[in-house]
């Protein structure tokens, strides 16, 4: 079969399709979005009737997947690393229930925070949940390991965590496909109490999970994804996890590394393999993208063993993504340099698109807030977060999905009035609705600016769960009709919109101003499609 040129994300998607999934459940989040998008447009997937609609958030996605596992079929759940925080309750407990149908959870980490609020390392979650973790180093492994993760899941009746980072997610290379595995037929577990986590049953299930730990480690010895490469120079041994292995290899022109190397791609890392390396070398260098999880384990709390190099002793910077030069420096190699960056260079931060509705919303809000002191707008996660930067400088917080409304309640409780919560439509149905219910129940004096651009914009315009439902939800949660105001954020409506903001800012209860105008990107895409269809119809 000819190789396909795939992003790491796409390799995982194709791997999951070929592994016989019946569904993918996900909420968009960079760098994981392209997995679900690939399945949504894949002809294979549609021929196999693989379900691939977006979920309202990562928790609902995770739970839906557990439901499919309950019914005996295979599914993939995808999210960005912080999405796993949202799904954590379901995720951790899925380790206790165990899997019936294959259950693989993909979490895409973002070291260096290219598009995120933090650089948390999902491998921690794998260890926390006590389940196997796979960490591919390249696109082919991403494909192979996705397939293997489903095998592993069904073999041991456990969810499996698949961890990648931005670099692999968004890098393309040739991938060879293998034979397709059919989907499962529906089949419930022989134990109908398996998913009932009442304390008495949960204790039994938890012990079963603990008993599996040895098997997980044994599997990581046998699967072939963790590899030991012997070498002559024993002054150093290198443990390279996931994509870090590529950066190690890159530093040796002929690919021949002089030191013994343990390439790690499956956790729990087999003790025997680590011991073998540790015993034969003088010092160890640990290379891992993300947190120094393995390094810390190896070092131990008291650090009384052999010298361990890595992020914790400064051989590698404590924060940020790895690259070939950082790894080269840690190996003590001479590092190549390019030309000096000229002083003339100016920064070019991302910004709202020309004609974006958010610009008009926040310009009006800024004007309405002029009489008050600054620092009154709690905001959320989406394109509109960019309005924190000049020229708008309109918002004062961005913490996690949905935090705008709830933080505004807390700030109002502390006496900040007026206070505004700014949130987008997709974020609202992700995690904002419950906070709005809190606000209504407490009659909190807050003004919510709900930017409804009819899409999940920041991740590239995926369908929003809130589409055409925002007004009904706001009404249904109990916001008074008189304080649900709909505005059209356009420059020509500016004066009118400022007035609406002014009125609602003064109201000492919950008001929601819905600023409704389609995202200019999705609008342009729709128009283009329409034109192409017209052209095709003519031809």
């Amino acid at each position: 079969m000819q190789k396909l040129l795939l992003l790491g994300d796409e390799a995982i998607a194709q791997g999951a399709i070929d592994a016989g999934i019946s569904a993918v459940y996900a909420y968009p989040g960079t760098p994981s979005t392209e997995i679900t998008e690939y399945i949504q447009v894949s002809k294979d997937a549609s021929a196999k009737k693989i379900k691939s609609q977006w979920s309202a958030n990562e928790k609902t996605a995770m739970e839906t997947a557990i439901g499919m596992s309950y019914a005996g079929k295979k599914s993939l759940v995808c999210m960005k690393h912080v999405g796993l925080n949202v799904a954590a309750d379901a995720f951790i407990n899925s380790a206790i229930t165990g899997a019936n149908g294959g259950l693989v959870v993909l979490s895409a980490d973002d070291p260096s925070m290219h598009s995120s609020q933090n650089e948390q390392d999902s491998r921690f979650y794998g260890k926390f949940a006590l389940i196997p973790v796979m960490e591919p180093s390249n696109q082919q492994e991403a494909y192979d390991m996705t397939r293997y993760a489903f095998e592993l899941s069904e073999k041991y009746g456990t969810p499996v965590l698949l961890r990648i980072t931005t670099r692999l997610a968004h890098s393309r290379a040739g991938v060879k496909r293998e034979a397709e595995v059919p989907q499962n037929k529906m089949k419930l577990s022989s134990d109908l109490q398996q998913f009932v986590l009442l304390p008495s049953i949960a204790r039994k299930q938890y012990n079963m999970l603990l008993d599996k730990q040895e098997l997980f480690e044994e599997d990581a010895m046998q699967s072939g994804f963790n590899k030991f490469f012997p070498a002559k120079d024993k002054s150093l041994g290198v443990i390279a996890c996931g994509i870090a292995y590529n950066y190690l290899l890159e530093n040796y022109e002929d690919g021949k590394i002089p030191f013994p190397v343990l390439k790690v791609s499956q956790y729990p890392v087999p003790r025997k393999m680590v011991e073998k390396l540790y015993e034969m070398v003088d010092e160890v260098l640990v290379l891992e993208d993300g947190y120094p999880i393995f390094e810390e384990l190896l070092r131990g709390y008291l650090n009384k063993g052999k010298t361990i190099h890595g992020r914790m002793d400064g051989s590698i910077p404590r924060a940020g993504e790895l690259n070939p030069n950082i790894v080269g420096k840690a190996l003590g190699l001479e590092i190549s340099e390019g030309f000096e960056t000229p002083g003339v260079l100016a920064g070019r931060p991302p910004q709202l698109c020309q004609g974006c509705s958010h610009t008009d919303s926040f310009t009006a809000l800024n004007e309405a807030l002029e009489p008050y002191s600054r620092g009154r707008v709690l905001s959320d996660i989406g394109c509109y977060t960019l309005s924190a930067l000049p020229p708008l400088e309109a918002i004062n917080s961005c913490v996690d999905m949905g935090a705008s409304i709830t933080m505004a309640i807390g700030a109002a409780d502390a006496g900040l009035f007026p206070v505004v919560a700014a949130i987008g439509d997709s974020t609202f149905t992700h995690s904002g609705m419950t906070g709005l219910l809190d606000a209504v129940n407490q009659k909190a004096p807050i003004t919510v600016l709900l930017n409804d651009n009819a899409t999940t914009g920041m991740t590239g315009g995926q369908n929003s769960s809130a589409f055409e439902k925002v007004d009904d939800i706001v009404r249904g949660v109990g916001v008074e009709e008189a304080h649900i105001r709909i505005i059209i954020p356009l420059r020509r409506n500016h004066e009118e919109n400022v007035k609406v903001f002014q009125e609602e800012l003064e109201y000492k209860g919950v008001s929601v101003i819905i600023a409704r105008r389609e995202c200019v990107q999705t609008l342009a895409r729709r128009m283009k499609l329409k034109m192409m269809e017209k052209r095709e119809a003519k031809a």
């Binding site: 040129l5 992003l7 960079t30 760098p31 979005t33 392209e34 290219h114 598009s115 670099r167 692999l168 968004h170 890098s171 393309r172 290379a173 040739g174 994509i243 590529n246 950066y247 290899l249 890159e250 690919g255 690259n323 070939p324 030069n325 080269g328 590092i335 190549s336 340099e337 390019g338 030309f339 000096e340 960056t341 000229p342 003339v344 260079l345 100016a346 920064g347 070019r348 931060p349 991302p350 910004q351 709202l352 698109c353 394109c383 960019l386 000049p390 020229p391 920041m458 991740t459 590239g460 052209r535």
Partner: protein, 194 residues
């Protein structure tokens, strides 16, 4: 054969199209390829770049090491300078459009930008917008720049032409022809000057 290529510009300018054309051409010649892209937040009018590596041997890292890029292809002059720390000091080429994309308040005077580029040992600067406009559409400016870079890629010119024909075929023969002309115009410009 091994080429490390950085393609740069501003989100939305079409750098991924350049990467796709080179990538398709490289694959047709049986070469190995790795291509790291920027998706997500930075695509919104911010600086974007792609690391494209092609080689007759397997490629390890998705990222090009600092100082190891053989060529920077940029659709925007100031953006080309953002990655000169990646450019090989011996023999690295910088090929860029001269047309600034000015969406920031503190964009430096264009003369200063060009002067910084002209201090490098190997460069091609081309008024890609004008060339593309003369051919029929400013949209082909990215392919003009690719054409100007084509002599330094170690990929057969015909392979690039074939890649363009297949990639743009969905958009109709007019667009294919426009882009083939754009490629040629860029190549001729570079050939005359190097």
């Amino acid at each position: 054969m091994k080429k490390n290529i950085i393609i740069s510009g501003v989100g939305g300018q079409g750098i991924l199209t350049i990467a796709t054309v080179i990538g398709t051409a490289a694959l047709s010649e049986g070469l190995e390829l790795k291509q790291a892209e920027v998706h997500g937040m930075s695509q919104r009018g911010g600086d974007v770049q792609s690391h494209l590596r092609i080689s007759s041997n397997p490629i390890a890292s998705d990222l090009i090491p600092e100082g190891k890029a053989d060529i920077i292809i940029s659709i925007e002059p100031m953006e080309s300078l953002r990655y000169v720390n990646m450019l090989h000091k011996k023999g690295g080429w910088l090929v860029t459009s001269m047309n600034p994309f000015n969406n920031i308040a503190n964009y430096p005077p264009i003369e200063d930008v060009l002067n910084a580029i002209w201090k490098l040992p190997h460069y091609v600067t081309i008024d890609a917008n004008r060339v593309a406009k003369d051919l029929g559409s400013i949209k082909a400016a990215n392919i003009v720049v690719l054409g100007a870079a084509s002599p330094f890629l170690d990929i057969k010119y015909e392979s690039l032409e074939k890649a363009i024909s297949s990639i743009f075929s969905k958009k109709g023969d007019d667009i294919v022809q426009l882009n083939l002309k754009a490629l040629k115009a860029g190549k001729d410009y570079a050939d005359e000057r190097t």
